[in-house]
């Protein structure tokens, strides 16, 4: 029997992300989740009274709400072993890169953050474990009234009322168990405010690094883009790999004013011991637009479904995503869209690649309310199975309650098409080049939506290598 050579897709080279510094933290709470720990965090953060009460109520909810009955197993996550707050070895947030402690600075240097700031960003925030260690925004951007700071500074400063008005209003702690957990122990994250009519031509970026073993990261990102404004916000995250579970249960709340646009790009590359139980949601005003660009490469288990609530007439949502699940990964990703006003539209375009026993699940929900006359929605998801030990599931749902709507959905699942390889070869490409072209093209929907530097990073992450003949 002849040996069939199959298309090979290499694992992502994680060496860039796997370095770590041991126990440099200056303070951390005990493992587990109790009222005392929540109070400890609240004291550490010098919370106002309302926030302390909010944390305690969230803890009560966390204890009442059960673990989801759907989705990947999270049996390996034991909250009794998770440290929910780790303050790195620095007393405060810095606005000068030189002032950041050496080990932390080295970490972000190796991840290329300062270089990116110099080259292509309007501002940068860097979080290390539970605290933001660096935040800076270009002077000319700040001069336009743009606020980009850590959320705790905002909570204690002139934007305190705005924070209180918006904090966990889009994602209430009642939403699910890990939203409640976030409400109880959140720490760090960014606050962005873009005033009416301001158009930021270059992006802001926050980078989240979880260095501590067995820890959780619970940053909160709150972005308010006022009417007629534009912002591109980039989020990056990574962690070194440990042999115990780490947890990420962040929360992102985006408020987009009438006729404004927010592009929210994420390159997620958590280590393969990470449980990534993140919640992201956008409230979109009249003729406004949210653009989600999402690349999911890391984590042991992911539950990630950015949600768009199209609340104003003519509001739009675009979701473009690619998910790459390799050995030991169970990535459950997708999106939710609620059409809650007339003439709203949504477009979802995703790709997933499963290899080496990795499990991919695309999960979506499109809800068209009774008042969403003229709503339009199109969902397209494609999955590529690279070998016969992996798995790929597609679980979409549509709930339509308005006759005057137009909802389309299409999904495909399969392997690299022999016919396509044959066609490309007939046009002069070698077999290997043909396969490489197909696989690169498969993930192209996301990379072409990113700024060049990030597209290059994503392509490095995918690091596809093709070899052999038709499988």
């Amino acid at each position: 029997m002849s040996n069939k050579e199959k298309t090979q897709v290499e694992d992502i080279d994680r060496s860039l992300y796997d370095f770590r510094f041991e126990d440099g933290d200056s303070y951390k709470v005990s493992e587990g989740l109790t009222r005392d720990i929540v109070m400890q965090i609240s004291r550490e953060k010098d919370d106002p009274d309302w926030m302390r009460e909010f944390r305690l109520k969230s803890l009560e909810l966390y204890n009442k709400i059960s673990v989801p009955k759907w989705g990947p197993s999270i049996d390996g996550l034991d909250m009794d072993n998770i440290v929910t707050y780790v303050r790195p070895n620095t007393e405060r947030m810095h606005t000068s890169w030189e002032d950041v402690p050496d080990d932390i600075k080295t970490t972000f240097d190796r991840l290329g953050i300062p270089e990116a700031e110099r080259k292509s960003l309007a501002g940068v925030g860097a979080q290390y474990d539970s605290e933001v260690v660096y935040h800076n925004v270009r002077e000319e951007v700040a001069a336009q009234g743009v606020v980009y700071t850590d959320i705790e500074s905002a909570l204690h400063g002139e934007y305190a009322d705005m924070i209180r008005e918006h904090f966990m209003k889009l994602v209430p702690p009642t939403d699910h168990k890990f939203a409640a957990l976030h409400g109880a122990v959140w720490s760090g994250g960014s606050f962005v405010y873009v005033p009416k009519g301001v158009h930021l031509d270059i992006p802001l970026q926050s980078y989240f690094r979880l260095n501590a073993k067995g820890a959780g990261q619970f940053e909160h990102t709150l972005i308010i883009v006022e009417e007629d404004a534009y912002l591109h916000f980039i989020e990056g995250c990574s962690a070194p790999k440990y042999n115990v579970a780490n947890l990420h249960a962040g929360c992102v709340e985006l408020f987009i004013g009438d006729r404004a646009t927010l592009r929210y790009s994420t390159i997620e590359n958590w280590s393969k011991n990470m449980y990534n139980l993140n919640t992201k949601r956008a409230l979109v005003g009249e003729d406004a637009k949210i653009e989600w660009v999402s690349g999911s490469f890391g984590s042991h288990v992911s539950y990630l479904y950015p949600m768009s609530v199209l609340n104003g007439r003519g509001a739009r949502s675009e979701f473009t995503g690619v998910t790459f699940a390799g050995e030991g990964q169970d990535l459950d990703t997708g999106t939710k869209v609620v059409h809650n006003a007339p003439d709203t539209s949504s477009y979802v375009n995703t790709r997933s690649i499963s290899k080496s026993g990795g499990i991919n699940t695309f999960r979506s929900a499109v809800v068209i309310g009774a008042n969403a006359h003229g709503a339009k929605s199109a969902v397209s998801c494609e999955s590529l199975m690279v070998d016969d030990i992996s798995r790929s599931d597609t679980i979409p749902a549509m709930d339509v309650r308005c006759a005057d709507a137009d909802v389309g959905h299409e999904a495909k699942i399969g392997r690299i098409s022999d016919d396509t390889v044959f066609y490309l070869m007939s046009r002069g490409l070698s077999e290997e080049d043909a396969k490489a072209l197909i696989v690169r093209g498969f993930a192209d929907n996301v990379s072409k939506e990113l700024p060049l530097e990030y597209a290059v990073e994503m392509n490095n992450l995918i690091s596809l290598e093709m070899k052999g003949s038709i499988g």
Partner: protein, 319 residues
Amino acid sequence: MLSNDHLPARTWEWLKVNDIDLKDTNGLLASATVNEHNIPAGGAGETPVYIDCKVGGTESPASLHNFNIEAGASGTVIQFITTDGGNDLSGDFVLQNRYHIASGGSFTLIQVQNLNDGWKFYNDCSGVCDDGATFRRIQIVLGGGYTYMGEFCDLTGEKSRFICDIGYNIGGTHNLDMNYVADHHGKNSGSDIHVSGVMSDHASKIFRGTIDFHRGCAGAKGAEIEEVLLLDDTIENKTVPLILCDEEDVEGSHGATIGRLDENLILYMKSRGIDEDEIYTMMAHARIDSVASLIPDMEARDRVSEMICGPIERECLRK
């Protein structure tokens, strides 16, 4: 016992699509009349067998049919499920069909349901297809207060096939709850599920369709398509088309089109002198007609056309 009571892969609870409450059927099934049907090897059932279920009269509240299609045999069964008596009758009725189609056999099950609004109807079907066996199911739903329709087709055999066409036209407060599973185990097995429906008034509907590719079903292909025409803002329409894939060498696809008629079509029809209400009525009938036209028996098609449409459509169906 009806076991196909959940979505094969659960999703968000708030969507309320994960579970189907079939507990009420257990007691009814205990008193079911059990009917055994056998189509012997080499037998070719050219003439369809009619099984009329007149619900509400002397019929038992549950009816169970076991079909055994021997190797190479083929057969067609047509079930009309209608109310026996006045429109004020109400109750629960369970119809369960189970089949085993041996190698090379084929079995076609046609069901036309036109119960009145007082009835809760549980219509369950499950079976196994061996090598080269084909199960074809054609269903038309025109009534019933609450209707559950389930299917679990175990495509065990190599080159086994499941072909399913469903047409429904529901209005009033009709509630239609569907759960279809094509379970691919056999190499080069195939499934096609095509659902076409019309909803109006306060009707509600859930369509769950699952193509499940298990490891080892290399070369399998599965496709599901749903088209729903919505006539009122008071409807509730849910569609949950799943593809579960544990095998590399397969092709799976699903598509859904939900909403109003295409504007260009309406414009064209209007230009031919047809008003909008009439256009929608015609198109609604056309959805059912397209499924009814698949019924390989003139008498049955006539009965369907009597139920759904006027003389012009009847003439079309006869052609």
